[in-house]
């Protein structure tokens, strides 16, 4: 363990490798010749081909993860196992994977003398959503109302444990990334399910400001963070914002405003009878008050800007989903054409 961290990561461990983000990050890392080994761990076998990434079935909630880290002399851990979708079972299980899994993993990292760098995927959801928040969050801003439930709360706790590790192992380079909502062809989150509903309910009287991150940009950020030293906490979101109303118009989705109280009932009905994922309290608050983060610190640190801003990331998602027909706008086009007007 040298005082000066070496430039390149040699043995990288990626958690959550069987989900879209983990698989893509592992693929990006193994393409780099300076990385000797990429080890992917998850509880279920990967769905995407992983190339030269070595897959190990291990539950990070168990001490077995420490064995993997020591025996392979892992020097870089990329922790992407934050579960944001309660699809794997009840909420309790999700919390256990997020929090207990992180605790076990960090305990193993603290013990290992080979460890040099830790990259943790967190979420901008740690800022919560409330009407008393500043319009734009920088990394130093405290939320007016910290999230009280769901994966957002888990992310807050995960960040707490990461800071604890940082105190005990000041020699580690720790990068913490607070990502805005991911969008992309492979992304399946409560948000994408919400947008795919046949008629999208919005909360009456609310039009939140939203930000998106294209998955390609997310993978690039994580790749750079893994291969280079960028210690600190960074917000990561596409430039610009979209209002929910604007996003739904761009997607050409039929939408109907619903009072906030009925929204919860509607979500429960959808979950019970239509196999939808319902509306978690944090999703509902996000649909009311939205959230915007300032990712200029990340851009300055990496000397790089996301290739997609929030609007183009959303348009890309719309195209991949085959949405985007907008009958009222097309009608207007025909009307304008008939009148001989210039568009």
């Amino acid at each position: 363990m040298s005082a000066k961290p070496s430039a390149a990561a040699r043995v990288v461990l990626v958690t959550g490798v069987s989900r879209f983000l983990g698989a893509r990050v592992a693929n990006a890392l193994q393409a780099d010749p300076s990385v000797e080994r990429v080890i992917g761990v998850d509880t279920v076998p990967p769905t995407l081909p992983l190339g030269r990434t070595e897959f190990v079935t291990v539950d990070i909630r168990t001490p077995n993860i420490a064995k993997v880290i020591t025996s392979a002399r892992v020097d870089t851990v990329v922790h992407l196992n934050l579960v944001t979708v309660p699809q794997l079972g009840p909420r309790l299980k999700m919390k256990e994977i997020n929090v207990i899994g992180t605790m076990q993993l960090l305990a193993a990292c603290q013990r290992s003398p080979d460890m040099r760098r830790l990259v943790v995927r967190s979420s901008a959801a740690v800022y919560g959503s409330s009407p008393r928040d500043p319009a734009v969050f920088s990394e130093l801003d405290e939320p007016a109302e910290p999230p009280a439930s769901g994966y957002a709360r888990d992310a807050v706790e995960v960040e707490g444990y990461v800071r604890g590790l940082q105190r005990r192992r000041p020699d580690l380079v720790v990068s913490l990334l607070r990502f805005a909502n991911f969008l992309g062809p492979d992304v399946d989150t409560p948000l994408t399910r919400y947008l795919r509903m046949p008629v999208v309910p919005t909360v009456l009287g609310f039009d939140p400001r939203l930000q998106f991150m294209h998955e390609d940009d997310g993978v690039e950020v994580l790749r750079r963070m893994t291969l280079e030293d960028h210690p600190g906490t960074f917000n990561a979101a596409g430039d610009g914002v979209l209002l929910l109303s604007q996003a739904l118009r761009r997607a050409g989705r039929p939408h109907v405003p619903v009072p906030a109280q009925s929204m919860q009932v509607l979500g429960d009905l959808g979950r019970r009878f239509a196999g939808l994922s319902g509306f978690s309290p944090e999703l509902l608050r996000w649909l009311m008050y939205g959230r915007v983060v300032d990712s200029s610190r990340l851009a300055a640190e990496l000397g790089w800007r996301p290739g997609y801003d929030s609007a183009t990331a959303f348009d890309e998602f719309v195209r991949a989903q085959g949405m985007g027909g907008n009958p009222p706008a097309e009608l207007l086009d025909r009307l304008a054409g008939a009148l001989g007007g210039t568009r």
């Binding site: 008393r132 928040d133 009287g205 039009d207 430039d239 118009r249 009148l339 007007g341």
Partner: protein, 308 residues
């Protein structure tokens, strides 16, 4: 129809986000003005329906503000309150500046009138800092964001000033807007001077502003506080017409308004640490407050009777 952009509006559109295409330059054609109006209206509707318009990170939608919020406000400004302006040249053409004004009128119509004044006569978009109550109310909060305003907090104010925006603040807050009619034109305490700190940090000038006329639109003669407490409001006003005449009591009385912008108070000579020196902040706060109070007395004399 009012959707047709005004001729001098072309340069006022600020391209903010990516993905925004400025509307194509209208080609010189020989069609009648009616047809051009229809075409412009259709293209406006199409832009709105396909979500193809820019919104900044505060949720400000300049096109929405220009076409939906400002026209009715302008009608009030010109016809109902017959606002007279003074010192508009004190608002800089560009760059950050903080307008500090007195607050009155039970309902904050003075903010809306100030927005019209800045937009139509100084050609600046005024970004007001509003009470958090505004942002907790459905519809109102998001309407306010679309009109360019945001929550009164140091982070937002600093971010707007750093972007070179014209920011407006009413440091009296609810103490000013909800004061009884008997206390009209008596400035209340100016908060804790947070606005001075923010302006000092951003090194932007403070423009004192006096608004005369708003006090008389809803003369608050009593406060039914039990109901206010029940509804979670800072006050429940009783005016000569409200709640006596029901919804009709919400029509503001047609008082004569005057708005004066004073000489900017330059802050760029202060040290960077001045914002952390409470004495400097207090002195500047008092100076701004005194200036506005004098301007108010001055304007009141010039205006004469309230409703003619």
């Amino acid at each position: 129809m009012s959707a047709a952009p005004e001729p001098d509006e072309g340069a006022r559109i600020i391209p903010l986000g990516n993905g925004y295409r400025p509307p194509p330059e209208p080609e010189p054609d020989d069609r009648g003005s009616f047809e051009r109006g229809v075409a412009a209206g259709l293209s406006f509707l199409r832009r709105r329906m396909s979500g193809d318009y820019p919104v900044d990170e505060f949720g400000y939608d300049p096109e929405f503000n220009r076409t939906v919020v400002l026209p009715p406000a302008r009608l009030l400004f010109e016809r109902w309150f017959r606002v007279e302006l003074d010192g508009v040249e004190n608002i800089p053409d560009k760059g950050g500046a903080l307008i500090v004004a007195n607050h009155s009128g039970t309902l904050p119509l003075d903010g809306i009138m100030l927005t019209v004044a800045a937009h139509d006569h100084a050609h600046r978009d005024l970004r007001l800092l509003g009470a958090d109550l505004v942002y907790q109310v459905p519809l109102l909060g998001h309407l306010s964001r679309k009109a360019g305003h945001t929550l009164a907090c140091q982070a937002d104010a600093a971010r707007l000033l750093d972007k070179g925006e014209l920011v407006g603040v009413f440091p009296e807050g609810f103490k000013g807007v909800g004061k009884p009619f008997g206390d009209r034109y008596k400035l209340q305490r100016f908060g804790r001077g947070g606005f001075v700190e923010t302006a000092l940090r951003a090194r932007t000038p403070i423009i004192p502003c006096a608004i005369v006329g708003a006090e008389e639109i809803y003369p608050k003669i009593a406060d039914f506080w039990p109901l206010a407490r029940l509804l979670g409001l800072p006050y429940f006003p009783i005016t000569p017409t409200f709640p006596l005449l029901g919804a009709l009591g919400l029509v503001p009385l047609p008082s004569k308004w005057m708005i004066q912008f004073g000489e900017p108070v330059p802050l760029d000579e202060y040290e960077a640490t001045a914002a952390d020196d409470p004495m400097t902040v207090f002195n500047l706060t008092d100076h701004v407050r005194e200036t506005i109070q004098h301007m108010l007395y001055d304007l009141l004399l010039r205006r004469g009777t309230a409703f003619l």
